[in-house]
């Protein structure tokens, strides 16, 4: 009886472990199947490098360069905000905060991560956009800059939490050895701790990037939605996720527009996939170099 039970449980866990794999394969298959037909109408080059996106005009134009650039711009902008904020809070939590502060700060950062994205979007639209419009004397507050600020704040907890974990994995012996040879606290931090946690911090930054580039609701609400190649950070933009979310409802199933939206999703997937592979590779290389078990 016991052995049978054991087998059953083992089998159950195997199924659950492989379920994620099955979901991923299923999603990828559907993405490819629904995306590829667009390339019968538009060449991949014209699709990726085309500068005008008029999917419902007669004749339609399917150039997604403005959408790709918009996504990259707002993500880059978000990084400028979330890396210093996230890594900075991780360093503070790890190096300077006392136990009491940690006990308050860490959960607060985690709560920030769980605020629904629509709340961020709403805040961006109602508070931040009018404020920036006034402050910078802009024609309109819904811009790439506004979006970057909100996305940066949204990605900060991801970065902070993973970077803090990375710092805590650095063995005590590293620090003790550093102090033993006469390094002060600052030297120990910059020359020993941060390089040793480098892989984890890079992973944190890359996962923050994935969070920013994949965010949909917020960009739909605050990016403005203009499908132009941004010339300034104060231009309204239409990131890939916003285009898919705004247009999928209208696109007749099986039409070129429908397949084009799937192709955008495919490209977005490939970008985040590349991010994740990069994160994995970096962390592996560092682990080997430092001879860490983790």
């Amino acid at each position: 009886m016991n052995r049978r039970k054991e087998k059953l449980i083992k089998w159950l866990f195997t199924v659950t472990a492989f379920a994620s794999l099955a979901f991923l394969v299923g999603i990828v298959l559907v993405l490819f199947k629904e995306a590829l037909p667009i390339f019968k109408t538009v060449s991949p080059k014209a699709f990726l490098l085309g500068q005008s996106w008029y999917p419902t005009a007669e004749p339609p134009e399917f150039g997604i360069l403005p959408l790709i650039l918009a996504s990259l711009w707002v993500t880059a902008g978000a990084l400028v905000i979330c890396v210093p904020l996230g890594v900075g809070s991780a360093l503070y939590l790890h190096e300077l905060a006392g136990n009491k502060q940690r006990a308050v700060l860490k959960p607060v950062i985690e709560i920030l991560a769980s605020v629904p994205s629509i709340v961020y979007g709403f805040f961006g639209m109602v508070v931040l956009a009018p404020f920036l419009q006034e402050a910078f004397d802009l024609p309109i507050g819904l811009t790439a800059f506004t979006t970057s600020v909100i996305l940066g704040v949204m990605a900060t907890p991801t970065v902070a939490s993973i970077a803090e974990d990375a710092l805590s994995y650095v063995p005590r012996s590293f620090r003790e050895a550093s102090f033993a040879v006469g390094a002060d606290r600052w030297q120990t931090l910059t020359k020993v701790i941060i390089p040793a946690a480098g892989s984890g911090i890079s992973t944190a930054v890359i996962l923050g990037m994935s969070r920013a580039i994949g965010e949909t609701m917020t960009v739909l609400m605050v990016a403005g939605g203009s499908a132009i190649i941004p010339e300034s950070i104060f231009d309204p933009v239409r990131p890939m996720t916003a285009a898919i979310a705004a247009e999928m409802g209208e696109a007749p199933v099986g039409s070129d527009h429908y397949h084009a939206l799937f192709a955008i999703a495919l490209i977005l997937f490939l970008i985040t996939f590349a991010f994740n592979i990069a994160a994995e590779l970096i962390s592996r290389r560092y682990r080997l170099k430092l001879g860490l078990s983790r």
Partner: protein
């Protein structure tokens, strides 16, 4: 145990026998009419259960074709391609005109411009005019606001004002009438277009070709950027759906239409 099974069966049977839930989905232009009418209708008919949501005309029509809503609200007529898809699924969609609407062009209240021609609006939206001073307004960059392509208002506007020319790519795209109205209300250089029911004190409606959009000019066909608003049902409506459509077309329903700022049919 037996009792439990019987109860479950009875419950299962009871659900389809009751009035059932009626789902309305689609145009954000029709949304305020549908919401208010559903509210009053449910007060008058306590067993009726109506649920109303937006999404855009295209979304509503796609949903009724897929069978996920019972009434599709639309601010444009159904397209041939959609009709074909519906008939492929064996759904014969029937149109009910429930109100008339004028597409009002709105600007920030501080803007000195009080009227434009259709040609001027077309030039603004196709980026040949970029500053208000070119058309007799203040020296201010024009911020063009338009609707996403799921919008029936966008299609009507594109047909009646732009002659299907493309909207300039740097136009701000919004998913709802309310979205446009709230941006225009806080953006001094903005121009946008919304259904008559969304014109409030926080924005300024302008005349087009010398005619102000209002109930009179729409009803007498003097304001030319106007269109009927529809509700689509599958086949001839029955039961609660029929009662609701009849209610909307009745004097009481049409009173709600004009209270919400749209134009009644009579």
């Amino acid at each position: 145990m037996k009792k439990l099974i019987l109860t479950v069966m009875a419950l299962g049977l009871a659900v389809p026998l009751s009035a059932g839930k009626v789902v309305l989905e689609g145009s954000t232009t029709v949304l305020p009419i549908a919401q208010k009418a559903a509210e009053v209708f449910m007060k008058n008919n306590p067993d009726a259960d109506l649920s109303v949501r937006g999404g855009g005309s295209g979304v509503g029509i796609a949903s009724i074709i897929d069978g996920t809503c019972d009434i599709a609200n639309a601010s444009r007529a159904i397209k041939p391609a959609e009709l074909e898809k519906a008939s492929k699924k064996g759904r014969d969609l029937k149109a009910h005109v429930i109100a008339m609407d004028g597409i009002s062009h709105i600007v920030h209240p501080s803007n000195s411009v009080t009227g434009l021609t259709r040609e001027q609006i077309k030039q603004i939206y196709t980026s040949r005019v970029k500053n208000w001073k070119e058309i007799g307004g203040p020296d201010l960059k024009i911020v063009v606001i338009s609707r996403d392509s799921a919008s029936g208002t966008f299609e009507a506007f594109s047909e009646m004002v732009l002659n299907k020319k493309k909207v300039r790519p740097d136009a701000i795209m919004q998913a709802s009438n309310q979205g446009i109205a709230s941006i225009v209300a806080r953006t001094p250089g903005a121009i946008g277009y919304v259904g008559l029911g969304y014109v409030t004190d926080s924005v300024k409606a302008i005349s087009v070709d010398g005619v102000m959009p209002d109930k009179n000019s729409v009803l007498r066909n003097k304001y030319l950027i106007s269109r009927p608003l529809f509700m689509y049902t599958v086949g001839a409506p029955q039961g609660t759906i029929k009662k609701f459509i009849d209610f909307l077309k009745s004097p009481e329903g049409q009173k709600i239409v004009s209270e919400e700022g749209f134009v009644g049919l009579k």
